[in-house]
Symmetry: C2
Subunit: 444 residues, 2 copies
């Protein structure tokens, strides 16, 4: 269902009964941060519901999975949470038993600090892999963040900033909509910006059809809502929303060890509880889809070194799997991505990527064209495998904008898929090669 | 069988009875080339055997397959050829029926020019996709190249130069070895340098286990030998040689529409004809493996923008498919490749790529280490998923050389695989983004 939603301020604290904070506790151990171009900035956030909330989550399907993800997956069984503690600067991934102990200490210390029942905290981490968590700093950060909790947009800003790694700006959204007589709100924050091709599932287990791409600044997303909703229904709604948003983006094709989306629903809006077949569920689903898609697009737009954002729309595939495979092959091709960077409408590289993708394609059936974002007016460069009369100049103009849509019709069936993709730039390479003489420049 | 082979000069004309030439016929229609930084250079080559030769071939498994590849696949049935005509500057891919007509005209015009029987010519093309061949230039080039044919190393040099696109240097090799009493020679030339992750088969059809990666300056390789060998045995030998060389390299993960390896064996060495179970076959196989592997490595070393070459060795995988998938995931990860460029021994990115690869891996079993090329002395950075005591400085030193080996032991089984891979640099991006205001800078 396609609906329009009005954005409001406050992101994660816009829904009733949510508080947030973001503090600096020097997780990278930068000291004062003097002399470093990367710190200090906030690096620990708390997101708190005043009352216990129903919870749902989606987690990386990477077989190498960080400790905080494992802890969250365990805790999803209770479907109830009241606080999320999140840090940037350290992924707590590949940290073995110590990492698991540290993740468990993060949740239990947070619960004790906020005087919550055991099991009510969830945890997210992002940053360098393979480094043990600086738990003294973490504990100090949790204490400080608990003191700072508040419900103003500034508090949400600070939490959104604290989860950033290579992101150049924070990513937030909130919307309000009517559900029956009640106003319901959904808010969210997220971060990118490299190691981005999430393939998440509700258990972290790998379904056959999930992408085998790749992510590593990790994407994290935390969503709050005051909707009253059944736990299983919330999980199903999140599955659908993520399938059409975060699981459809790629910056660099690398899937992270830490990708996490959590949604907390505390029911304070007072709406009639959403259950399966509840007539209001479609509206809630559309709203959650909107929040996830807008946040997902923000991640691509702010991807490492990204200059251009390209929506790859594949139609006419034999199967959904083929449509997905074709879209991902194009979206992750180094040659296609560099041509986007150069503003070169190089359909040769696109059809080459289609040809080597696992999808079944037939050269003589393929259409390739361009449209402005959201426009149905497509300038075709290739029709049934043959160049059209569109001039090189016209095609260059079509791929010149910062954002455009690439339309690919395989003309073999009815299945379609979309990927929100990015170009590959010198800035991406420069950022990610880092400088080994200054380890603070080395990303995840 | 691992054997040492002595290199000799002359590459494709080193075996008895082979001639070659390379000329400039302005296939890109650059005019005089004045004002362009890309021309003129030689762009059409002939490789001729004085007598009909047994032939074998391996061809791209890309579903979008260029006209010259289709013509060669058709002609493989006869297993007999006497000349190969090759052009750079235009791939003759995605050119429809006109492209097929042009490829057929290239072989038949070559046959007529050299007064050969119909069906004795093969053809290869590399360059931009989707542009119709300039057949007047091609015909003029074939006539000129026929006049220039000769058997000196200079002739081989000129042919090797004529097949280059984004290659910075030509790639040639020849070896001589004893087979019974006779001296047998094998020579070869090839070109890269982008759109390089070949997955070739003898028919161009896709076996399930072939890589779904990607190539697009195309790789072309032409091998000559004076060995006497049965056609089916030659094809089987080429299959094996390619499986361990060209099908194990990646520059950018893009598989081309034009990848081709051809071998012509004219029998003039006078050895007892190699047949199945012939006792000399192992020596010939080892020699052909050596030629293919050395040429394949030359392609990676001269890959677009490549600064570092990394041999990725995966051992201990459950299956060959797992070993292959794990090695390719690491070899094609944008984040791993940029860390190689930066000289950053970032095992986090490597284990992340292993985790999202289709291969089954267990974090707590993975070993990751580095060795100098060909050395068995491995500096382990990770053992059973845990960082070793190797210091950051020691690990940086291990990844500092222009070439090194990355060892990954999954410790789950007995299967292994190797990939010859490259870093990802700003120079690669800069080259491939091109400059739309100067179409001569736009690659394939």
């Amino acid at each position: 269902m396609k609906m329009q939603f009005k954005e409001i301020t406050g992101s994660i604290v816009a829904p009733q009964g949510f508080l947030a904070s973001g503090v600096f506790c020097d997780i990278k151990k930068l000291g004062t941060g003097k002399g470093s171009n990367k710190g200090p900035k906030r690096d620990l956030a708390l997101i708190v519901s005043e009352t216990p909330a129903t919870v749902a989550g989606m987690f990386t399907t990477n077989q190498v999975c960080a400790a905080p993800v494992k802890v969250c997956v365990e805790r999803m069984k209770k479907r109830l949470a009241q606080v999320v503690v999140v840090n940037s600067g350290n992924a707590n991934a590949c940290t073995g038993q110590q990492g698991m102990a540290d993740a468990r200490e993060m949740v239990s210390f947070t619960e004790r600090t906020l005087a919550l029942s055991a099991g009510r905290a969830l945890v997210g981490s992002t940053g360098r892999i393979g480094v043990t968590m600086p738990m003294d700093n973490i504990r100090a950060g949790i204490l400080a963040a608990a003191m700072e909790l508040g419900g103003t947009p500034t508090h949400a800003d600070q939490a959104a900033e604290a989860i950033m790694t290579s992101d150049s700006r924070s990513k937030q959204i909130a919307i309000a909509f009517k559900l029956g007589g009640q106003t319901v709100r959904i808010g969210g924050i997220c971060k990118g910006a490299g190691m981005i091709q999430p393939g998440m599932s509700a258990t972290g287990a790998r379904p056959a059809a999930l992408p085998q791409g790749g992510l590593h600044a990790t994407m994290l997303c935390f969503i709050t809502t005051d909707a009253a909703i059944d736990a299983a229904v919330l999980q199903a709604a999140l599955n659908e929303a993520v399938a059409h948003s975060f699981n459809r983006i790629t910056v660099d094709g690398d899937m992270s060890t830490n990708d996490t989306v959590l949604v907390l629903a505390n029911g304070l809006a007072g709406n009639e509880k959403l259950k399966n077949k509840n007539s209001k569920l479609k509206t809630f689903q559309a709203a959650l889809n909107h929040v996830c898609l807008e946040l997902a697009k923000k991640i691509v737009r702010d991807g490492e070194g990204v200059h251009r954002v390209v929506t790859v729309r594949v139609t006419g595939a034999r199967t959904i799997q083929d449509a997905d495979a074709a879209a991902r092959a194009v979206a992750n091709s180094a040659l296609v991505k560099t041509s986007w960077h150069g503003g070169d409408p190089n359909w040769g590289r696109i059809i080459d990527a289609l040809g080597y993708s696992p999808a079944t394609v037939m050269e003589e059936k393929i259409d390739i064209g361009y449209a402005a974002n959201g426009s149905k007016k497509i300038l075709w460069s290739l029709k049934r495998g043959q160049p059209t009369k569109a001039t090189f100049k016209e095609l260059c103009a079509a791929v010149a904008p910062k954002e455009f849509e690439l339309h690919i019709n395989l003309n073999l069936g009815q299945a379609d898929a979309v990927m929100y993709a990015a170009d590959l730039t010198e800035a991406y390479v420069d950022y990610n090669k880092g400088d080994v003489t200054d380890p603070t420049t080395l990303g995840g």
